[in-house]
């Protein structure tokens, strides 16, 4: 059938590629829905994440390749070597739309080669593997340069850095951005280590000659796409604050709320926030001739990314983001944006999760490896990850391994994954999400900050325990639904305040595919995805005891509110009662 989407199955043991039609039962599943379906159906839950039995799955969303704003996220799913459970991590960049334009919903990689470094090429002729031992342990900028030389300057690349090849549990999967730089990361959960374990250095997507995917009702699609983009532009968060200040606009407000985790979660207020805030970053970027407003994926109207240059005008980071700035800034007592941007550049080069590595660094500083605030020391330690120093080897495996290596009793992880930039004692709704998400501590899984702090989609006191479980449940379901579409989560600000956002979103899906999906139907898919992920984790050995924050959050009070995390365990166990 013309326009039928396809799936590639890549066998790394036999070094072969098979093309299949998109299975009928997966028709409505894109992004996280696709990856989590494949992982829960095809991966033995108790397998070693780095063995041939594991699969790594790449999927675009239901609107990839179309003109729909913000629709080009790419999901990577696998059994995580960091958490031991199911993992989906998504990013912007160019690969999601490139898959959509090539008519590919998913790429499923299994097996393990005897030897060699391999690259998957997807172009007009189909998909094939090529052996590229010259790319072994190449840093990502160099690897992308060589791949562009070989396959064309316009290709989109999904790749891993040396950290992934060394099977480090904090290793990311990197996606090239609109300038072709390796800067956007499916960061969380060590997906890069799984890709590395399969000898797959990169996937090159060449869209030469490709056209946007066919639309069942082009006129209707165009009208819904117009309304959808307008609701994003009309909302003050996605239309004004994010384009000007980027995601780091949050630094000041989370700090003012006493929820900005400082020095490995020992305070909720960082005295250096003014030096690393979104406002300060905006001024530095403008002064140096960078870009405060920048798209991370083609055609996005929100444009919350940025291009950060060093003091001499050389490129350091594209999309210096709130979470990265926090993890390597306040969390390490570092108040110098240039140091943070240099660390971010190293994470781009090595292919590391900027959150996990920053949280690991905070644990190392707390244990006395180097003092809090020692920026140059932090850079040396991250360079040690590449060089293979003892502490570098620990840091590259994330906060849990670093804490174990240093005999720390203050390790902020859930299911083995480092906590992101919100203290659960001061934003208790986030504590519920961190504790219970099947992904481990993940801020995107159910972003309670919206009503706990931002007065978006309602208002709930962040310090009260009541109501947080119901809020987190609602948000986790909606997030899984949005992740299924391949939309950026930042459509949620508009969606929470304006019903037209989700109506036009579903309108676009129906006009693209010829379906009759409803908003309620989309949310039901969100529930189904979460149930499948929970089922996988249960089979992998997770119990209710894994849906908990580390004990220190319920024992140690934090300034300025003098609060602990006090939501009872039996309440946490109600999150998935649907």
């Amino acid at each position: 059938m013309v326009g039928m989407e396809r799936v590639y199955r890549v066998d790394m043991t036999g070094l072969s590629v098979r093309e299949e039609e998109l299975p009928r039962e997966l028709l409505e599943f894109g992004g996280r829905g696709f990856t989590s379906s494949i992982v829960s159906q095809e991966v033995p839950a108790k397998c070693d994440a780095l063995s041939a039995d594991n699969r790594i799955v790449f999927a675009c969303g239901l609107l990839a390749g179309t003109q729909a704003s913000t629709s080009g996220r790419i999901s990577v799913g696998t059994k995580s070597p960091l958490t031991g459970g199911i993992k989906e991590s998504n990013a912007g960049g160019t690969a999601g739309h490139a898959m959509g334009r090539r008519g590919i919903r998913g790429i499923i990689v299994h097996g393990k080669p005897k030897e060699g470094t391999h690259v998957l090429i997807v172009d007009a002729k189909g998909a094939r593997l090529e052996r590229r031992d010259d790319l072994r342990l190449a840093k990502s900028y160099s690897a992308v340069g060589k791949l562009r030389d070989s396959y064309g300057s316009g290709v989109s690349v999904i790749l891993i850095g040396p950290a992934g090849e060394k099977s480090m549990r904090a290793a990311s999967v990197i996606i090239t951005d609109v300038e072709g730089r390796p800067t956007r990361h499916c960061g969380r959960g060590g997906t890069g280590a799984v890709m590395g374990s399969k000898g797959l250095k990169a996937i090159v997507l060449d869209t030469t000659g490709a056209t946007p995917p066919p639309l069942r009702n082009p006129g209707t699609f165009k009208e819904h796409a117009r309304v959808f983009a307008k609701t994003l532009m009309d909302h003050p968060v996605s239309g004004q604050a994010l384009p000007v200040y980027g995601t780091n606009v949050l630094a000041n407000i989370i700090n003012e709320a006493g929820a900005y985790p400082t020095r490995n979660f020992t305070s909720g207020v960082f005295e250096g926030t003014g030096k690393i805030s979104g406002e300060t970053m905006h001024d530095i970027i403008v002064k140096r001739g960078g870009k405060p407003t920048h798209v991370c994926q083609p055609g996005c109207v929100i444009r919350c990314s940025n291009i950060y240059l060093d003091e001499h005008g050389a490129h350091l980071a594209s999309g210096l983001e709130y979470e990265s700035i926090w993890a390597n800034g306040a969390n390490c007592g570092i108040d110098d944006l240039d140091v943070i941007a240099r660390l971010d550049h190293l994470y781009d080069e090595l292919g590391l999760d900027s959150i996990e590595t920053g949280v690991a660094m905070g644990v190392a500083m707390h244990a006395g490896v180097i003092p809090f605030g020692d920026g140059e020391g932090a850079i040396r330690l991250v360079e040690g990850i590449m060089e293979g120093t003892d502490i570098g080897n620990a840091l590259g495996h994330g906060a849990k391994v670093t804490g174990a290596y240093l005999r720390s009793d203050h390790i902020p992880v859930v299911k083995g994954q480092g906590l992101p930039a919100y203290d659960p004692r001061a934003i208790k709704g986030m504590g519920v999400t961190f504790a219970t998400s099947p992904m481990g501590a993940d801020h995107t899984a159910g972003y309670a900050v919206v009503t706990n702090i931002l007065e978006c989609g309602g208002s709930l006191d962040p310090l009260q325990a009541e109501g947080q479980v119901d809020l987190s449940r609602k948000l986790q379901i909606a997030t899984a639904a949005i992740d299924n579409v391949g939309m950026c989560l930042f459509i949620a600000f508009a969606a929470l305040d304006n019903p037209d956002t989700l109506k036009s979103l579903v309108g676009m899906i129906n006009a693209r595919h010829g379906w009759e999906m409803t908003v309620e139907g989309l949310m039901e898919l969100g529930k189904e995805i979460l149930r499948g992920e929970r089922r996988f984790n249960g089979e992998a050995g997770f119990t209710a005891a894994d849906d908990r924050l580390p004990k220190f959050f319920s024992r140690e009070k934090i300034l300025p509110h003098n609060q602990t995390f006090d939501i009872p365990d039996e309440e946490l166990d109600r999150v998935f009662n649907f």
Binding site: P236, T247, I453
Partner: protein
């Protein structure tokens, strides 16, 4: 109120406090609201004085910020509504709509 506990007999009432007490409030402004910082501020905050018992709403009017601009209001790191009465020494943080993550 102290007045209600007064016996009404002249000479038996305690001395009444002055009706207008001046409170010192630290006002902190962020993103686009920094345009309303007075000259000489540190780039984020300044000191304002206002009558005893004034609300956040009255403070915002006093310092010249259009009432529709602040979307999120915190007093001493707690989110409050505009009608909340202030106390001497409070820190008020004001934000327009914003989000990220």
């Amino acid at each position: 109120m102290q007045l209600s506990s007064c016996s009404g007999v002249i000479g038996e009432c305690p001395a009444l406090p002055s009706r207008v007490l001046t409170m010192k409030i630290t006002v902190r402004l962020f993103t686009t609201l920094t345009h309303y910082l007075p000259p000489g501020s540190d780039g984020t905050s300044f000191q304002a004085e206002i009558e005893d018992g004034a609300t956040v709403h009255e403070l915002i009017a006093r310092v010249g910020i259009p009432a529709h601009l602040p979307h999120i209001v915190m007093v001493n790191a707690r989110r409050v509504s505009l009608g909340n009465a202030l106390k001497d020494g409070d820190t008020v943080s004001l934000f327009p709509p914003l989000g990220g993550g």
